[in-house]
């Protein structure tokens, strides 16, 4: 039992430290956030449950990133997404959400561990709707061929931009600024 618990505690204790190192001059409130990241929730949903989450009529710009733990360019761009999210997250009209396309049974293992390690401190979903890919992929964007990473920018249920490619910090930030 002790052997199981110890590494977890170690991780929990070291996270605020890593956060400080990674972000330089972060305030103590940011350190507290790291504890939230230490145990992220990955909500497994089908497309019918996912879509209403980012198509609300509330003047909020939703940045919806589709990723998977096995997708190297996805995992590579996520730290940039988190930096940009940190810049905008206090804006009430901005919301970033991550949608993992991993196998549903990995939600509480691989995906959660990734979210913890990469400090994915946003709302995390896992879209489990394999057999309807040919329906929900074109519904997200009519030109999406299905490759990831892919990012949707949407406000009041109206798609503003869809990028089926990696985005770096500057590209992501300029798109957000344009539509916020």
């Amino acid at each position: 039992m002790i052997r199981l618990i110890t590494p977890y505690y170690f991780l929990l204790l070291t996270l605020p430290f890593f956060s400080l190192v990674a972000n330089g001059q972060q305030s103590s409130s940011k350190t507290a956030d790291s504890f939230i990241v230490a145990d992220p929730v990955i909500l497994v949903v089908d497309y019918n449950r996912l879509k209403p989450i980012y198509t609300k009529e509330n003047d909020t710009l939703y940045v919806v990133n589709f990723w998977a733990t096995w997708c190297r360019p996805c995992v590579e761009e996520l730290p940039d997404f988190m930096v940009v999210n940190d810049r905008f997250k206090d804006n009430q009209k901005f919301k970033m959400i991550l949608v993992s396309l991993d196998d549903a049974e990995k939600a509480n293992g691989t995906v959660k561990n990734f979210a913890k390690r990469l400090k994915l401190n946003v709302d995390n979903y896992l879209l489990d709707d394999i057999k309807k890919m040919n329906e929900w992929i074109p519904d997200v964007d009519s030109l999406w061929s299905g490759s990831i990473p892919a990012t949707l920018f949407i406000k009041n249920g109206r798609s503003l931009r869809f990028v089926e490619n990696s985005l770096d910090k500057d590209e992501l930030e300029s798109i957000i600024k344009l539509y916020l």
């Binding site: 997708c71 890919m133 990831i148 931009r161 344009l178």
Partner: protein, 203 residues
């Protein structure tokens, strides 16, 4: 000032949007290019070599992608079933091994041996072919039918509707398309989309 910023932003965005558009490739009905690519047996392969073929099941796939791996057995089964009927599988790895070392030519040879690939597994060395087809991910299927000297694209998309569980497939997109072509009928579902691994290209 704000307007200038917005215009600059739009210009920037149109730049990457354009790069997406230019990579769209073939639509159903287009004539597909032939190629000369090296296979895992070190021989060069072209579509034109297959004199008796009625068409081809061209599949952009690779070693590392979990979706490609999930489909390996089904790709072999497609080749075993349809190569004798005139529609062989031709698999092409479009990835740059500098970005994805698991997709090197050496590891392609290894994987083809391990799995007993019955079809040519080719390396898109220099990444010249996949952009012409408009492949964006692995696996990505293009079914071609020989019409005179041309290879006409008849279907673009996924193999079936369940990458994870071959036992729970409801729609066999590729099989249905090839069956229609063999019966000289119109392919009913001409394009489908499914999640796949993006093709690895240097930025």
């Amino acid at each position: 000032m704000k307007t200038i910023k917005k215009i600059a932003g739009l210009l920037l965005i149109s730049l990457f949007t354009f790069s997406n558009l230019s990579a769209q490739g073939y639509k159903v009905g287009d004539a597909a290019t032939d190629f000369k690519l090296k296979g895992v047996d070190n021989k060069m392969v072209s579509l034109a070599d297959h004199k008796d073929a009625k068409g081809f099941i061209v599949i952009f796939t690779c070693n590392h992608c979990p979706y490609s791996i999930a489909y390996e057995d089904r790709i072999i089964a497609l080749d075993k079933k349809y190569a004798p009927l005139g529609y062989p599988v031709v698999a092409i790895n479009p990835n740059d091994p500098a970005l994805e070392p698991k997709d090197s030519f050496e590891l392609m040879i290894k994987r083809a041996k391990e799995k007993g690939f019955t079809f040519p597994y080719l390396f898109d060395d220099g990444q010249k072919i996949f952009p012409q087809y408009g492949a964006t991910k692995t696996p990505h299927v293009f079914i071609l039918k020989k019409e005179g000297a041309k290879n006409i694209v008849k279907y673009i998309g996924a193999i079936d509707d369940n990458y994870k569980n071959a036992g729970d497939v409801s729609k066999k997109y590729v099989e249905n398309a090839v069956e229609a072509l063999l019966a000289n009928k119109e392919v009913e579902v001409k394009t489908t989309v499914a999640i796949g691994c993006s093709i690895k290209v240097k930025k």
